[in-house]
Symmetry: C2
Subunit: 267 residues, 2 copies
DNA sequence: TCCGCTTTGTACGCCAGCGCACAGACCGGC
DNA sequence: GCCGGTCTGTGCGCTGGCGTACAAAGCGGA
């Protein structure tokens, strides 16, 4: 698990100007999130907002039958706990750690307070929420129309964008439960991708070898979500006077362009 | 098309206290929305926010292939144009009128201004947005796991809740494009529902005869969304001193309880 | 080094929903 | 009352993904 004690690894925190960052920083708490850890369950009062640095959290809904599906993921680009400032406090979905790692957390009241200040943070969080909305809407469409293989590609790419490395620590079983499909479906799709040279994997480890290949095999949904995140969140200025390590986290981003005809707004 | 020149028919407008409602009311503009009318398209700058009274608007995404699917609907419980106050201004999805009717619209700048005031309206809009988020997340899950018939039931119920009557003016073709399935699939599912005595229909008209029957045949998704909307938005006090006509719009709500084991929070 | 648990591979039948094609029914307008 | 366009019903064959079952392989700990 890569260690990260730099709040700047989280894009939202990194985007705050010094004067807004300092009051928050004093109360940030570095926590380790373990695979499978549950940050909140349906209708449960959330006590903290989590700003992931190296961890990835999955927002998903578990049905009465036990079947489940992810509606969105949250990594270093965002924050877990939207409902705190949106006013609902709870949600019918749950948040589960999908990739172990670190996050900074901020107590509920402080988080709400900072939002209420109506400073840059508020606008930032609202724009992030809109991006999340897009991700959910696109997931709905994708679930309706695209093949398991396409969805796997989309999901791998989105996950990869949130990680510092090319490797995911993840069993096929877990991927399947994220996408809400059978484990065997993932075995088959992953097998195809491996044969095509896009990825290679062994027991619980998936390495991406050919990112462009994945983008070609993915549906348009990845591009739509990616573009929207870039549009909504990449215009923000990163705080000056502190090391901006974001570039190290997404070393491969400049290459996105190749696979998409739309202009790349990521930079 | 039922006529409605009372802003109180929209729940959000009705929930505003007199002092917040008045400055807004002066600028509300009653508009007629025709079936199929497009309120905004992907990446198009939205000029107005729309508060439907009798109209229903569908937020949906059209893919490159032409296939499409709805991620959420907006009726008299909400507002079209979230992105204006969320900060993105545009979205990758479009908004199309799914049921003809009326809405009050508010110019972009005024809408933003009122949101910025950070009064009751702001909190209300944010809570509405969270409810919308839930609807999208649930649509994603539903698309993944439930049968066309279950989804049709969910969709009919959600639409019915936004209408004053028991009848939908809607061809099967249109329903199919909302759910993102084949028209024939709807013919079959609707046929089943008719044989079961839940609905009756003729060319472009669907009448609901047995609401409870629909609830029994629907998946849990309808209940989840309904409950969340109720939780997030029904605690608001309706403005005093003006006729509150909301109850006429949802005459059947008290009967929801029968079909769901969860407590009914709608009242 | 070996054992045992977890993870992955493969095979089978099954069926919901798709794509296509066309027939029949309905409704509105002339 | 008739006519034409729209909407609905039905019947194919096809296929992607499901459920089930079990075998093989990999990895970690003793």
């Amino acid at each position: 698990m890569p260690f990260s004690n730099n709040p700047n690894h989280n894009h939202l925190l990194a985007a705050l100007p010094q004067e807004e960052f300092e009051p928050v920083a004093a109360h940030l708490e570095l926590v380790t999130l373990r695979l499978g850890e549950i940050l909140y369950e349906p209708d449960e009062q959330l006590q903290y907002a989590y700003f992931p640095t190296t961890a990835i959290v999955s927002l998903h809904y578990v049905m009465a039958s036990g079947a489940s599906a992810e509606s969105a993921g949250v990594g270093n680009e965002g924050v877990v706990g939207i409902s705190l400032f949106m006013g609902g406090d709870t949600t019918p979905s749950s948040a589960v750690v999908q990739t172990a790692g670190h996050a900074f957390r901020l107590a509920r009241q402080l988080f709400k307070q900072e939002f209420q200040r109506a400073g840059l943070l508020q606008g930032l969080l609202l724009r992030y929420t809109q991006a999340l909305l897009t991700q959910m809407a696109q997931t709905a469409v994708c679930n309706r129309h695209h093949s398991v293989e396409q969805q796997l590609c989309r999901w791998l790419l989105l996950t990869l964008d949130r990680l510092p490395s090319q490797e995911l620590i993840m069993t096929q079983e877990l991927v399947a439960s994220m996408l809400g499909v059978r484990r065997e479906g993932i075995t088959e799709a992953a097998g195809n991708l491996q044969r095509a040279g896009c990825i290679s994997y062994r027991r619980g480890h998936i390495s991406v070898l050919d990112r462009t290949g994945l983008e070609k095999r993915s549906c348009e949904c990845y591009g739509v979500v990616k573009k929207e995140f870039a549009r909504l969140l990449c215009d923000v200025q990163y705080r000056q006077g502190l090391p901006n390590t974001i570039q190290q986290v997404f070393p491969q981003q400049p290459h996105h362009t190749a696979a998409f005809t739309r202009p790349d707004l990521t930079r």
